[in-house]
């Protein structure tokens, strides 16, 4: 990555600015890569016939309040396998 060097700054300040710029560039690139992976995964699953649904927040809150992880998983499983899906279908 090309990072400009400023003649008005000291070598230390230049090095610090390069480090900060690299950090942000790295974060952006990482996010971009993650977005692509997520999109590929969702497109592939949608092509195979799977669908995602967006549920209302109270549904998620109610599941979060369940006492055990097993109960939470069971509730999510029930939602995912219900004959009539809950929520709004998300197009992929």
């Amino acid at each position: 990555m090309l990072v400009p060097q400023y003649s008005t700054l000291s070598p230390t300040a230049n090095a610090a600015s390069v480090a900060i710029a690299s950090l942000f560039a790295g974060l952006l690139l990482r996010d971009s890569g993650k977005d692509t992976i997520r999109l590929v995964e969702r497109t592939c699953m949608a092509d195979k016939g799977y669908a995602r649904y967006r549920v209302e927040k109270p549904v998620v809150v109610a599941i979060d309040k369940l006492p055990t992880d097993e109960a939470k998983i069971e509730r999510y499983f029930a939602l995912a396998t219900a004959s009539v899906p809950t929520g709004e279908r998300i197009s992929e």
């Binding site: 952006l28 971009s32 977005d35 692509t36 999109l39 590929v40 497109t43 592939c44 949608a46 092509d47 016939g49 669908a51 899906p85 279908r89 197009s91 992929e92």
Partner: protein, 224 residues
């Protein structure tokens, strides 16, 4: 400044007008001829980029492509217009697949075609298009500038893969390159059903987009 720009335009005008590159075809070799349309509105509404197409030999036994012989059609067109570019590329006789276009691999379902020895196969006109969902579209210039100012990126909120709108050669298409001469040109026979790994490493789709998923209806539970 205006005079300098004008001088550059005047000097470059003859090369811009001469949009037909001189190529010599080997008499016994096989070639693929294709016109590739521009990709419109990928980043901002009203702006376009030259489309690209990736073809590769297809191994129907392993259901994968032969990456070493992959050809990317993007540079050095033999002819170009405001809407498209035309390419003639030498290929080995084999079964070939449309592997991808403009950054998207058609690994979920693409089309193959056979090139016989000494044959020139005309793929027709392939126009890459963004496979938007219903109600989506490219950002306006103003929206794009605002998002750049506030979020530091012109990238669309939802990046969508590309699909191909395919037609056979039309009367309005670019004329056949003069280098073909008297040689016969065979219109392509595209065969459905090629699937392969996402070797391009970017987005994936089907050749004709999400509307060509098995049920044909992107809104139905079995297809979207």
């Amino acid at each position: 400044m205006k005079k300098v720009l004008l001088a550059i335009l005047v000097v470059s005008a003859p090369t811009m007008a001469a949009d037909q590159r001189k190529t010599t075809l080997q008499p016994d070799a096989s070639y693929v001829l294709v016109e590739i349309g521009k990709l419109e509105g990928a980043m901002v509404k009203g702006f376009d980029n030259p489309g690209s197409l990736t073809i590769a030999p297809y191994d129907s036994t392993t259901h994968d492509i032969v990456a070493a012989q992959r050809i990317v059609l993007f540079n050095k067109p033999v002819a170009k217009s405001k809407l498209s570019r035309q390419y003639v590329v030498k290929v080995q006789p084999a079964t070939w697949v449309i592997e991808g276009a403009s950054g998207t691999a058609f690994s979920l379902g693409s089309k193959t075609f056979v090139v016989h020895p000494g044959e020139i196969v005309d793929l027709g006109v392939m126009k890459p298009e963004i496979d938007w969902l219903d109600g989506e579209g490219p950002k306006s210039m103003a929206g794009s500038m605002l998002s750049t100012a506030f979020f530091g990126s012109m990238k669309p909120k939802q990046v969508r893969p590309v699909r191909i709108k395919w037609t056979r050669r039309q009367p309005t298409s670019l004329p056949l390159p003069a280098s073909i001469g008297e040689r016969a040109v065979t219109p392509v026979t595209l065969i459905d059903g090629a699937t392969f790994d996402n070797n391009l490493g970017g987005l994936i789709n089907r050749f004709a987009g999400r509307s060509s998923r098995p049920s044909g209806d992107p809104a139905s539970p079995s297809s979207s």
